[in-house]
């Protein structure tokens, strides 16, 4: 395309202005294409803009490591849950229990450890329980034809109740590996006691799940199942198995980072309710460019959506805006992102050919 315009003007110099126009048009078309197919780009720009705005308004109080770590502290749990949630949204399903799984996993680890089970094994048991929760979510959804919205809503209450029952409504502390008992060693830092380890865990998970969704057969099967359920089944995609595995993966990831998060804070509060997390997580997915219509989604976008929410919460607090305003802003960003996505989808369908 770049070579098109010079050749054109060499043949007919008089036609230079239209040639330039055409080049400008082709550049703008290419920019549009970029935004259409790289849905993460819009939230990245918004995030960068917010970052710049808060840096100007609050200066070094915003960019110092205390403030940034608190932003990442908001973003970590949301991102961890959102990354797994994207897979389900692409499948045109949803997991409302992932937030509660995030809170539940460290409880299981804590109880195991109190029974005398070694830490490493307690963690493995907790992760296995999370996978089990995901499998139950998936199997009830595909075998009993219960909408996943309902299955996982119920699972959310069940897990919340289990925590209340077995915790005797008292806080759990100290959490195994957490820094509260002496200075943290390597494995403690690795599992969350270091300021940045949680967000790094989420970043690594984001990259791995992106690879799964875009480069593996499992990823294609997820997109196919979410994009055209009947068509995928007719083409031989084992749609039920794909869904169950996606539920398992989503629960596993939420539980894994839940354990890291518990090590970071050193205590567990039985009163925490998972729905608080899940609503932010779904919001992060939407902000990142994942529609809830199935067949489309971006894992990196979900991560960026979580970062955006974290920066918004931290930044607004720092410049002295009340937290009540924060909710209004999150709402506005979510609606804006969703409307934009719907328009992008229409543009793709309307553009014939690539």
């Amino acid at each position: 395309m770049q070579s098109g315009a010079p050749t054109h003007s060499a043949v007919a110099p008089a036609a230079e202005p239209p040639g330039q126009q055409r080049e400008a048009a082709s550049i703008s078309r290419r920019v549009l294409r970029l935004f259409l197919y790289q849905r993460e780009l819009t939230p990245v720009l918004i995030t960068v803009g917010l970052f710049a705005y808060f840096t100007i308004r609050a200066g070094s109080t915003f960019t110092d490591s205390l403030s940034l770590s608190s932003a990442s502290g908001y973003a970590g749990p949301i991102g961890a849950i959102a990354v797994g949630e994207v897979l389900l949204l692409v499948l045109a399903e949803i997991d409302l229990s992932a937030g509660q799984v995030f809170l539940f996993a460290p409880w299981v680890e804590y109880w195991m450890h109190n029974l005398g089970v070694p830490i490493a094994l307690s963690i493995l048991v907790a992760l296995a329980v999370c996978c089990g929760v995901g499998a139950i979510n998936g199997l009830i959804t595909v075998r009993l034809n219960v909408p996943s919205f309902v299955t996982t809503l119920a699972m959310n209450f069940v897990l919340f109740g289990l925590v209340l029952i077995y915790s005797d409504m008292t806080q759990a502390t100290p959490i195994p590996l957490s820094a509260s008992n002496g200075s943290p060693n390597f494995s403690s830092k690795f599992m969350g006691a270091w300021l940045w380890s949680e967000i790094l865990w989420v970043l690594v998970i984001t990259i791995l799940v992106t690879v799964v969704l875009t480069r593996t057969r499992f990823g294609v099967r997820i997109i196919a199942t979410g994009g055209n359920l009947l068509g995928a089944a007719e083409a031989g995609v084992p749609v039920r198995r794909v869904k169950v595995w996606a539920f398992v993966l989503c629960s596993f990831l939420a539980g894994l980072v839940g354990i890291v998060d518990a090590v970071k804070y050193g205590s567990l509060d039985p009163g925490n309710f998972g729905v608080d997390y899940i609503l932010y997580a779904v919001g992060a997915c939407v902000i990142g460019g994942t529609a809830l219509t199935g067949g489309r989604g971006t894992v990196i976008g979900a991560f960026i959506g979580a970062i955006l929410i974290g920066i918004l919460e931290d930044g607004l607090t720092l410049i002295g805006v009340s937290t009540n305003d924060f909710y209004v802003w999150v709402g506005v960003v979510i609606i804006f992102a969703m409307a934009l996505n719907a328009q992008f989808d229409r543009l793709i369908a309307r553009s014939r050919g690539a």
Binding site: T216, A232, A235, G236, G295, G353, A354
Partner: protein, 272 residues
């Protein structure tokens, strides 16, 4: 028109063993009896046309043969082996591929991934990483060979015209079929040029003799051009079985009307 580089057509193997045999297959959905005992034979390398009214059970039969539904009773015999398919994958393992009338493309996937859906080329062993490079290349080559034109193999299916989508869907199954190809109204909602393309595609495949084909269609002109034999389904049974070169559209129509009449008489005598 076709430029597919096929070696000199081998004569269709005259084998005693039919490619596919259906014996007394029945199927009901709740109170609705759709198939009342289907007997059908598909010979090696043959193209068999299946016609009948809406609701005669043609699509249900195809869905049983492709493993999407399971019959209540009766036998399906593929290459002499009695089989019962519990999944699409099981039918596929026996070399049976299907093009459905409800169009199995995934709107959000690019053409090349749609073409390989269910047969993805993967690398790195158990990790099942997609070999996108080879799938793109093979798709381009293959679509060129069979004269199917799409804007790009990277275009998403949602960006194709209806005819292009159907052509890709048919191409996928034609490519993958090793023994039996089932086509459920492959020409529905297609323009003249695209219909011609699909017909040539199927004729080419039939000529190669490697695959036996069942086609459902409502257009008798197409069926007479495409098929060796035509079976008529009425009320969940096969009522007429005619070799195309021994019959004509008029004969077939007469047979259908008289068979329809005798069915009506049967029903009214039942009522009496």
């Amino acid at each position: 028109m076709s430029v597919r580089p096929t070696e000199p057509t081998p004569p269709a193997p005259i084998s005693a063993e039919p490619a596919l045999e259906v014996r007394g297959v029945t199927k009901r959905f709740g109170a609705l009896v759709v198939l009342r005992g289907i007997d059908l034979v598909l010979r090696q390398g043959e193209v068999l046309g299946l016609v009948g009214d809406n609701g005669a059970g043609k699509s249900t039969l195809v869905k049983i043969l492709s493993g999407f539904h399971q019959q209540d009773a009766g036998d399906v015999i593929v290459g002499g082996e009695r089989v019962r398919f519990h999944s699409v994958g099981a039918a596929r393992a026996h070399g049976i591929e299907t093009v459905y009338q409800d169009l199995a493309l995934i709107p959000q996937l690019p053409v090349y991934l749609n073409l390989f859906l269910g047969h993805e080329v993967t690398k790195l062993g158990p990790l099942r990483f997609l070999d996108k490079g080879s799938m793109r290349k093979l798709s381009r080559q293959y679509l060129d060979d069979i004269n199917v034109h799409v804007p790009s193999v990277d275009a998403e299916a949602v960006q194709l015209s209806g005819g292009q989508r159907q052509a890709v869907a048919v191409a996928r199954s034609v490519r993958a079929a090793t023994k039996i190809l089932l086509l459920d109204e492959p020409l529905a909602a297609m323009g003249a040029r695209e219909s011609r393309l699909i017909i040539d595609l199927v004729k080419d495949l039939a000529k190669s003799g490697r695959v036996s084909i069942i086609v459902i269609d409502h257009n008798y002109a197409h069926l007479f051009e495409l098929c060796d034999r035509i079976n008529v389904m009425q009320g969940g049974r096969i009522t007429i079985d005619q070799q195309v070169h021994e019959t004509s559209l008029e004969t077939l129509t007469e047979l259908m009307i008289s068979s329809y009449r005798s069915q009506l008489e049967e029903i009214s005598s039942d009522d009496a």
